[in-house]
C-alpha cells in the first residue's frame, strides 16, 4: 500500500486522467480509505475549475511596436559587461533579437487564439455539443450523474431551454 505522500504526488495526474490504469486503481483504492487525500484531490479539482474560468488576456495592440522600439533604441554601453551578456552576446545582430521577439509574440498570439477557438468556449458549437450529450441520456449504461454535470456546466443549460 502506498503512503499518502506517494499518492499525493500522483493526484494532479490523477485529476486530469494522465495515469496508467493500474496507477488509477491504486489511487482510487487509497482515496476510498483516506479522507486527507480525498480533500487534497478536491482542492486540486477546485483549483483546476477556477483556472479554467479565467479568460486569457489579449495582447495589447501596440505590443509588437513597443518591443521593436525597445530592441532598436540605442543603448548606452555598460561600464562592465553585465551577466546577461553572456546569455545574449552583443555580437549577435539586432535582427536575430527581432526574430526572437517576433517568434515569441506569434507564439503567444497562437496560444491565445487556439484557446479561444476551443469548442467549449464557442457559443456557436456549444448548442450542438449539448444536444449530442442530451440525446445520450437513455443510451444503455448511460452515466446520468455525469451527464447532469455536463448540462450544469453549460451556459444556463442551453439545450434544455
Amino acid at each position: 500500500m502506498k503512503s499518502c505522500k506517494d499518492i499525493q504526488s500522483q493526484l494532479a495526474d490523477f485529476a486530469v486522467g494522465a495515469l496508467q490504469e493500474q496507477e488509477i486503481a491504486e489511487v482510487e483504492r487509497h482515496l476510498q480509505e483516506c479522507p486527507a487525500c480525498r480533500r487534497e484531490l478536491g482542492a486540486l479539482q477546485r483549483t483546476g475549475t477556477l483556472l479554467n474560468v479565467l479568460e486569457p488576456e489579449e495582447a495589447p495592440a501596440d505590443l509588437w511596436q513597443s518591443i521593436r522600439r525597445d530592441i532598436e533604441a540605442p543603448k548606452p554601453e555598460p561600464a562592465c559587461a553585465p551577466w546577461w551578456e553572456a546569455l545574449f552576446p552583443a555580437r549577435w545582430p539586432r535582427l536575430a533579437y527581432a526574430g526572437l521577439g517576433a517568434t515569441a509574440i506569434l507564439a503567444v498570439a497562437l496560444l491565445v487564439t487556439v484557446s479561444r477557438l476551443s469548442p467549449a468556449e464557442d457559443d456557436e458549437t456549444q448548442d450542438f455539443i449539448l444536444r449530442h450529450g442530451m440525446l445520450a441520456w437513455n443510451d444503455p449504461l448511460s452515466d446520468k450523474a455525469a451527464l447532469g454535470v455536463m448540462l450544469g456546466q453549460s451556459e444556463a443549460g442551453r439545450e434544455m431551454q
Binding site: A15, H132, N138, K144
Partner: protein, 337 residues
Amino acid sequence: MMRATLLISMAAMALVVSAASDNVGPTPASPAERLRAAQSAEERLTLRATLNTATFSRQASVSSQVVVCRKPGCCRWEYQAPALKGLVMIEKGDAVIRLDPAQKTASVGCARREAGAFDLLLKNYTVTAERADPIIGRAADVLVIKHREAGRPAKKVWVDRATNLILRTEYYDCDGRLATLTFYTDIEWNPPLADSLFEVPDGWKKVAVGDDPSKHWDQESLSKEVAFTVREPAYLPAGFALDGFHLYHCRCSVASAHLRYVDGLNSVSVFERFAQCPGRGRGRGFGWGKGRGGGRNCELLANQPGRMLVRQAGDLSFILIGDLPEAELTRIADSIK
C-alpha cells in the same frame, strides 16, 4: 413382472437425477446477462444515496457530490458542487426535468428509450467479468465492456451482487483515457421518499424543450423542414446504426438536421444546416476567428469525452460530434456528399 421392475427402476433413476439437479442450483449468469440485469436494476430499486462523479478532460476536470433519490419510475439527482449552482435533474418516466434554482425555472424535455439499444451493445461489445471488488462494503463484480475493434470507448462497471445495481462506472474514451468516473459512497435502502421530490416545485416556471427527440422524421420530411436535402454519410465505423433523423434549432432559431448514429455504448451526431446562420460570427478571439465559415479541424470537446469536426460544403455546414479517433470522424465527414 420384468416390465414393472424396469418402470420402477426408471422412475427411481429419474428421481435421483431430479434430486441431483436440484442440488446444482441455477446456472450462474453470464457476464452479458449480468450486465443486462444491471441495466434495468436501478429502475426497480428504492434508495437514497450519495455518489461522486468526476469528468476528466484535457481542458478541465470537474467533480461533484450528488445526492440521489430513486424509486421505481423516478429519480432525482441533486448536485452539490458550488459551480453547478444547485442544479437538480429529475427523471420521471420519459420526462427529463432540469431544475435551475437561480431562475426558478424547470426545463422539461423528453428522453427516448430505444428497446433494441442494449442488444446492439451486446452485438458490438464484449462483456467480461474481470474480478470481484467490493465497493462500500458490498460484494461486487467488475464487468468490462470493450468494443470488438480497437480505438473505441470502453466501460467498466461494478455490479452489486445482491441487487445488480451498478455501484461504480468508469468510462474510457476512444484514446483509452479515463474520461468519467462515478461511484456510490453510501446507500440507504428503501427510505420513505415523498412524491414531491420528483415534481416541479410550486410557483416555478416550466419551459418545454422545443425539439422533441422522440418525434420521428424521415429523410424526406426532414429535408422539407430544413429546406435543403439532408445527406447521410456513406461511411460509418463498424457497428454503428442509424438511431434517427431529428430536427434541432440552435439558439438563433435556425433549423438543423440532426442525424444520430449509435453502436450501443457510443454515439455520433451529424448536424447539417445552412452555413449562413445569423448566430455565426459571434466567436471571440482575434479577427480571423470571427465569422469563419471554412470549417474547423478536429478538436477535443471540453466538457465531455469526444471530438468535434466542422466542415463546410457549398452553402451547408456539417458538424460532427462523437467519441471516435480523429481519422474515423474525418472519414465520416469526407463521405458526406
